[in-house]
Subunit: 198 residues, 2 copies
DNA sequence: CTCCGATTTGATAGATCGCTCTAGCGTGAC
DNA sequence: GTCACGCTAGAGCGATCTATCAAATCGGAG
């Protein structure tokens, strides 16, 4: 039996992603996690806010691994981008358009209302950007170009998730993937032409 | 004095955009709108759900006008895209990173939890896509290319809003704007090369 | 075994939620 | 005047929210 704290974290991550932060009740969480209510305040004395922050940070950082999965040294950059967006489309369809970004819903909810949680989401996005930039620099791009491409991929993915979940159609994801692939080709061509990305 | 219903709609639109749907209480709305509580149920007998739907549809459709503002026949396509993203960045900074997309927060919240509201957001995104495709077709792109570019712009904008609001930094918006401009240049070059976009 | 701290348990407080209800107000028709 | 009707006004309902609390339970040390 996985630890109670882990079960609470896992259930919270799923509920926050699907229903949002304010849309998820603590009773709902402990029920889904098969945990007693009191345990929640034992492990998270800071209450819902502390739970939210820990969930954002851990489930957000787990997604960094995806960079390593899709961008390996032996496949080219454009193929990696296309595979990443195609994979996201498959996951979305398989989960009935529920499981997209683990923190996007919460990020929008708290951006103007809860500084502690906003900071947590910002740290996750920053970590993604740093990790992606490092990873993509291996493909012959300068650091500035790698950062640009990383931000382009993340923003496109996030935006496409919104439209795809709302429309229940993966077309936006496909279009966004193609756009990112095109941007990657442009940047690669530019780098090959002798501009090392300053 | 503007009608009570209009004040309720305006206050709801602002609160939903900043705090989300579940994060906004009806008491909060009538207080912000300076309206009596009973009036809310007089004008919206369907309760919070009907109010949410009307707000999504009207404030969502108002944004279609932005296509006409930024994409006029006498400025070129790439300049229009760059101006749109730059304008969004100014608005974001001016409102302390609060006012971005009027429906994105709600769209993510309700996508998997409320079919009626999910449908409303989907209709808005569809209307944007249709209107944008028609508008962008005037710039020498085929209809398929115009639709692709519209979806690219909308998804990039939405995704950049998430990161920019969370990070309190307009860099993602600037990067996304540049990426869309690059995609537009590619599509224009392709169209000029004789492919009418089938 | 006894003891003690860590963890589990659920009842419950106090506030707020969406919503309903009835009474009153104001204005135009007649 | 007075009647009808659209709107104002807010008290209050049951449900649910986050959070607290004291008691029960468990496992390892001595």
């Amino acid at each position: 039996m996985a630890g109670t704290k882990d079960r609470i974290m896992a259930a919270s991550a799923e509920l926050f992603r699907r229903n949002g932060y304010t849309g998820t009740g603590l009773k709902q969480i402990v029920t889904a996690a098969n945990a007693p209510f009191g345990s929640l305040y034992h492990f998270f004395p800071g209450g819902k806010e502390q739970l939210g922050e820990e969930v954002i940070r851990t489930s957000g950082l787990m997604y960094i691994e995806l960079f390593d999965i899709f961008f390996t040294p032996d496949t080219d950059l454009v193929s990696g981008i296309e595979a990443a967006f195609a994979g996201a489309a498959v996951t979305l369809r398989e989960t009935d358009f529920a499981d997209a970004c683990p923190i996007a819903t919460v990020a929008l909810e708290v951006a103007s209302t809860n500084e502690q949680l906003r900071k947590a989401t910002a740290d996750v996005f920053t970590a993604w950007t740093v990790a992606g930039t490092a990873k993509l620099s291996d493909f012959g791009l300068g650091e500035a170009a790698a950062r640009t491409l990383t931000l382009t991929i993340v923003t496109s993915l996030e935006g496409a998730f919104i439209l795809s979940r709302s429309l229940r159609d993966t077309e936006p994801l496909a279009v966004a993937g193609a756009a990112c692939a095109a941007v990657a080709r442009n940047l690669l061509a530019e780098a090959a032409r002798g501009n090392p990305g300053d």
